[in-house]
Symmetry: C2
Subunit: 204 residues, 2 copies
């Protein structure tokens, strides 16, 4: 079996996350296990505990990588169009990412850290980076306004879209005949943006 001389701590970390990613991609997050990861990299399961606190910790770090990859995909959609078109490009980019990485994307939300505590800062920083993409897109609607207000709108819209995508993904919107996620997302975005635009002068 492998020994310290074979792989450095950092190499081992990489191998473990790589193996975990692969296992999730192929068989889905629910069937991921420490034992499978161990056997797929040729180490005993015990070794993984030298690098990760437990499976929860490992999955959280895998999810952080997924968020990094998502950011790389989404940042490419930036362009100089209207708010509506920019947002639609972002939305389509997100749906493409979900489609291409479904099991990794599911792991982002199916994983529930057992501690009821807050997520670690290094994780929230990734979420923050992604939310900033939405902020940038909606910013023209909020010229000179409180940035925390912008953030609240971005988060609300993003969470709303997440709801649509995750419910259609789990077949829980089958009660409506043809639940195309993109169509429903656009319905939400369009109405939300119209509402936002027509009410901002009253509230501003």
């Amino acid at each position: 079996m492998a020994r310290r001389v074979d792989h450095s701590h950092e190499e081992l970390r990489e191998m473990i996350l790589e193996a975990a990613q692969n296992l999730v991609e192929v068989d889905g997050y629910p069937s991921l296990s420490m034992r499978k990861i161990g056997s797929s990299i040729g180490y005993s399961p015990g070794t993984i505990y030298n690098i990760f606190a437990n499976l929860d910790d490992l999955v959280l770090q895998l999810n952080a990588r997924t968020l990094d990859e998502m950011y790389v995909s989404l940042v490419k959609t930036k362009s100089n169009n209207s708010v509506e078109v920019n947002f639609d490009l972002l939305l389509c980019g997100y749906l493409e990412f979900v489609d291409a990485n479904r099991n990794l994307w599911r792991a982002l939300f199916d994983h529930r850290p057992s501690i009821e505590n807050d997520l670690p800062d290094w994780y929230n920083a990734r979420v923050e980076k992604l939310l900033n993409l939405i902020d940038d897109t909606l910013k023209p609607y909020f010229n000179g306004e409180d940035p925390t207000k912008l953030r609240k709108f971005s988060a609300t819209l993003w969470a709303g879209l997440h709801g649509i995508i995750s419910l259609t993904d789990s077949n829980k919107l089958d009660v409506i005949s043809d639940a195309d996620p993109l169509e429903l997302c656009r319905l939400l975005v369009r109405n939300f943006l119209v509402g936002l635009n027509s009410s901002k002068y009253e509230e501003g």
Copy 2:
């Protein structure tokens, strides 16, 4: 140990679901197990397989009960106010139900039937009943219009709210300073309804 003479098939079914509900309420869905259910009703785990196909099936039937209870709670919020007020009452009722039954509510969405197939009709009928409550509330905005259009709007709005509530529940919206679910939900509803109202004549 208990025997056929002690409990009928129907009684046993009731005992199992009751025990499962209790275990989920107290310890959460992730720690529910066939063995725990068995021991809490004084039967061996094998007996449960006479009544339910497997754990997935059992949880789906537990979730159907939760949806029934939710319907009973929500139907009480019906009143003769404006669309906006009616919807807000429905929303508050939903949030109260989530608060009072958090672990059962989580089980509704954390449970992923392993078959990628559709959910059974008896389950979707419950979802349908709940969606009808939203349809009824929004109906005044869709006088004489295609009911499938109304349904699409209801489902979109409901899925959006679900996204906000589920992300705040799992601490995944902590990146915004004070993520009060009710406030964000109202933000979504208000803008969505304004957008819906101001665009319906163009599209209608």
